[in-house]
């Protein structure tokens, strides 16, 4: 059965898709983990560590499967720690610096609102390996979205300052949202295995409309949208993330940890 599935879909496209899923989790998890011990209240320190932890766990699953599909003996760690920036496939949104806590929360919300419908769609993947990972991750991510959406509402409809900060964050991040819904040739080759990115937009927009309206925040007009992360053309930030993240594996190539 697995053999049938494997010949039926484009393995290179599948590998690429799995890197996209895994790298999103890894890089966003990295950014979120930078808050550890520096959050505005203890409960947030705990909640953010929890989100980061879920994302790193999901990274292990997606990149693990990617390595299996690739079939060149690379495991999740090899993929996480031994690729340079050009090999990463995460959305630019996930690598943006944290900014203030509102910026971090808004980024999380915009991502979660995409991540959840993506995983829901993947639960129905024709490839049971993807469906299984999605089924595990979807429960965690539903909670992430519940939490980030709730905080966006409370801070958007909080004080004047918290409103201003959330609106500013939304506007700064908006040009990074378009990439989530751009289809490319690889996506087209994964029919049945993974949803077309463009097909997730309605669900995303519905979440946004509901949350932003309750948050009294204004959704920005669509304009220029950054792109590139999904095909390995990143911002200048990713190189610095990787230099830090990969230091030990790079500096001690013969070590086991």
């Amino acid at each position: 059965m697995a053999a049938v599935a494997e010949t039926a879909v484009d393995q290179a496209a599948l590998f690429d898709f799995l890197l996209r899923m895994g790298d999103n989790c890894l890089i966003l998890g990295h950014r979120v983990s930078e808050w550890c011990g520096h959050g505005p209240v203890l409960e947030e320190d705990i909640a953010l560590a929890n989100v980061a932890l879920d994302l790193i766990g999901q990274t292990q699953l997606w990149l693990g499967l990617a390595g299996t599909i690739e079939g060149r003996g690379r495991d999740a760690d090899a993929l996480a720690y031994r690729r340079d920036a050009q090999g990463f496939r995460n959305l630019l949104l996930t690598e943006i610096p944290n900014g203030d806590f509102g910026h971090t929360l808004m980024r999380q919300f915009l991502f979660d609102a995409w991540h959840l419908p993506m995983l829901k769609a993947l639960e129905g993947s024709s490839d049971p390996r993807l469906a299984e990972i999605a089924a595990k991750a979807v429960r965690e991510v539903a909670y992430h979205l519940e939490r980030s959406g709730d905080l966006v509402i409370r801070l958007g409809d909080g004080t004047e300052e918290s409103h201003r900060r959330m609106q500013t964050a939304l506007e700064a991040l908006w040009p990074y949202t378009g990439e989530m819904f751009m289809d490319d040739a690889g996506d087209a080759r994964l029919a049945g295995v993974a949803p077309l990115p463009s097909s997730l937009r309605d669900a995303w927009q519905a979440t946004l409309s509901e949350v932003l309206s309750e948050a009294t925040l204004q959704q920005p007009a669509d304009g220029y949208m950054h792109r590139g992360g999904k095909r390995g053309v990143h911002s200048e930030h990713l190189g610095f993330i990787l230099a830090e993240m990969q230091f030990l594996q790079r500096a001690y190539p013969d070590a086991t940890w």
Partner: protein, 315 residues
């Protein structure tokens, strides 16, 4: 004073004192000081380990470290709650931390300089903490005792994880073994100092023992820690950086050298390698988070007001 005598008798019988019950003012104050100091230590303790989360060498190690730091924040939360039962608010406790009035464990003023330090903290620092905390599970104050039971369970898990990091490293390359020995060299003495100065030098000990807030002397615990840790170090193939260390068959324990207490008091006085960074990071987090906390309060008030207005309209 008969009330105080009755209180002491309850303690002596091993009864738990609960929040709304009468207690001597000194008992309350001592507990607040001790619990909040412990809570602050958990919070500040996130920082040295957090320093390596983004550089953890594998995804698995990263996840374990994240979970550990998260646990520490959780311990902070239990402990602040326990302190709150004694009539002090979390904000007051923070204020004391940020102003430098309240202390936290001095060990967290040392830097984490290599991945082996993450192992060493789990093994030695959590090990020493457990040694201190296990007897506190039997503390006379109920909420503190219960918090400690929960915390100790997680801490011993952390300690094993720390030891596991080092185990893996000493089985690795020479460079890794050097890192581990270097970490032990730097963390050994500060860990011994975690038990505090010799009891002769400690002001509060006798009364705390009587109140069962403290159950063992600092020196007893330190001895126990050394006796437990030395064989573990040997198993790892490491050398304890103490030329005076040797087995004393007569007492059935190790003899060991005296920590440099002048360093201990320096660090307590604010003059450790990272005191300014640690406290600075916490104050910065708090100050920069003010708008966030204010926003949540404002939203809660708005929501409540709307609910009231809706009720009035409905009536």
């Amino acid at each position: 004073d008969p009330v105080e005598r009755a209180f002491q008798e309850r303690v002596d019988r091993g009864e738990k004192i609960e929040p709304k019950e009468w207690m001597p003012e000194g008992y309350r104050k001592t507990l607040i000081r001790q619990i909040s100091q412990h809570a602050h230590s958990e919070i500040v303790g996130q920082l040295p380990e957090g320093n390596w989360i983004t550089r953890a060498p594998t995804l698995e190690r990263k996840a374990i470290l994240l979970a550990k730091v998260q646990d520490e924040a959780g311990h902070g939360l239990y402990l602040y709650c326990a302190a709150e039962t004694l009539g002090v608010s979390r904000d007051e406790l923070y204020e004391q931390l940020h102003s430098g009035k309240a202390k936290y464990s001095s060990i967290f003023n040392y830097p984490t300089l290599s991945w082996a330090d993450i192992g060493a903290i789990g093994w030695l620092v959590d090990g020493a903490a457990i040694m201190n905390q296990v007897p506190l599970q039997r503390c006379s104050y109920g909420p503190y005792s219960r918090a400690m039971i929960r915390i100790c369970k997680e801490e011993s898990f952390h300690q094993r994880q720390g030891y596991d990091i080092l185990m893996k490293m000493v089985k690795g390359t020479d460079a890794q073994r050097d890192m581990v020995q270097d970490a032990l060299n730097r963390w050994w003495w500060p860990s011994l100092m975690m038990f505090g100065p010799s009891d002769d030098a400690s002001v509060h000990s006798a009364q705390s023992m009587a109140w069962k807030i403290k159950q063992n002397s600092n020196d007893e615990l330190r001895q126990k820690f050394v006796d437990q840790t030395v064989p573990q170090a040997e198993y790892l193939g490491l050398t304890i950086p103490d030329p005076e260390l040797k087995w004393n068959a007569e007492k059935g324990g190790y003899d060991f050298g005296e920590p440099d207490w002048s360093e201990f008091f320096e660090v307590i006085a604010g003059n450790g390698p990272c005191n300014k960074e640690r406290l600075g990071a916490r104050v910065k987090a708090w100050d920069e988070g003010a708008w966030f906390r204010d926003g949540l309060v404002a939203h809660a008030e708005k929501t409540a007001a709307r609910r009231r207005a809706a009720q009035i309209a409905a009536e």
